[in-house]
């Protein structure tokens, strides 16, 4: 590496570190997690599809206790199917399939935008595993945008569970997305959650930062 290159490199690293420090000092700047299509299973449905009592850990994710499982399923819609859809652990009270709107068009599923676990209006969908296939009459949803935070993090921002905020993202495809639901729980780590349509549409990647704005 030439002397000139080293100087430019030091300059670039310095300004990147400073920019990141400025972000870290602003509690309204929160890291982004992008959710690809995935499935949560109840213990009963896990037993039916895989003959297992528990999911196997593949990789931890940012929220404590949550993980990507080793298990994959096939998700069947009226028009098409997706193979190798990741199951996320641990097991939930009810099984659900989280899709992007693009996924919904591909599958032919008319899933509404809902908060995770609020399944009364979720769309019908089928899930297939190595040992069987189940039909969920209310199982498919497009996850509503949300931001995880701890009670102290929420207090610092003057926010409470189920409040809504906007989030601004920079970059060539940047902008402001509205109606993020604040979700507060003792062990939550601050994290903005978008699905792939939203992240691709706003040009943001896993690990980028967004800035919360009160609505």
């Amino acid at each position: 590496m030439s002397q000139l290159d080293a100087g430019a490199l030091v300059e670039e690293i310095t300004s990147k570190v400073i920019a990141r420090l400025q972000i870290l000092q602003d509690p309204a700047q929160i890291v982004l997690g992008v959710s690809n299509r995935h499935v949560h299973l109840s213990h009963d449905d896990l037993k039916t599809l895989f003959g297992l009592d528990e999911l196997a850990l593949y990789r931890k994710v940012r929220q404590p206790g949550e993980f990507a499982a080793e298990q994959f399923v096939t998700v069947h819609g009226p028009k098409k199917s997706f193979q190798k859809v990741r199951v996320m652990g641990p097991c939930r009270a009810k099984s659900q399939v989280e899709l992007s709107r693009t996924d919904c068009y591909t599958l032919g599923v008319k899933a509404p935008v809902l908060q995770s676990g609020h399944l009364d209006e979720a769309a019908p969908i089928d899930i297939e595993g190595p040992l069987g296939r189940i039909h969920l009459e209310h199982g498919a949803l497009v996850a509503a945008r949300h931001v995880h935070m701890s009670p102290s993090g929420a207090r610092e921002l003057g926010l409470a569970d189920q409040d809504t905020v906007s989030v601004e993202f920079g970059g060539l495809r940047g902008g402001r997305l509205d109606n993020f639901i604040i979700r507060v729980k003792d062990d939550f780590i601050p994290e903005i959650h978008l699905d792939t349509d939203e992240a691709n549409g706003i040009g943001a990647l896993q690990g980028d930062f967004g800035r919360l704005i009160k609505e």
Copy 2:
């Protein structure tokens, strides 16, 4: 229909018409066109792929002279292919493939966000038709957000060709997207263009209205 239902219906129609009239009276409210993945072909490439001198009209689109052609192609990326990708007419100086970021991940194509026709940095991609297959070394792009308007429409909004604006969309998944490029031409009809990721991400449909905001 009962008397009560008719009254509610009249009320609903009235308020929808009033809301639409208010939108029509605001020149900053512009209708949205959502672009699915599509291909433009040069005359030479049309000849190679289809043995044709001209594309056949399938359906006109909003911009005068532009149309969806009867012709479909297969688009090949390193990872996967899309069959039945619509060709849009008329022929252009150079062939290009417009993809969403989601499409890029599926195909395994690393296409940058570019203005249509600005192909110097576009990604390599293959197109197959009934009579042959071509390789474009610079052919695949994710179309930059843009807004079409006539010179008089631009003047009314105090805008000029290649200016950038933001656009706000309402609804559950609403927000503000930045960096739309203003494109002015004599026969352009006012129209906001988004790709499917952007439209799905912001929860907007073809025919919805967005409101222009100067940056």
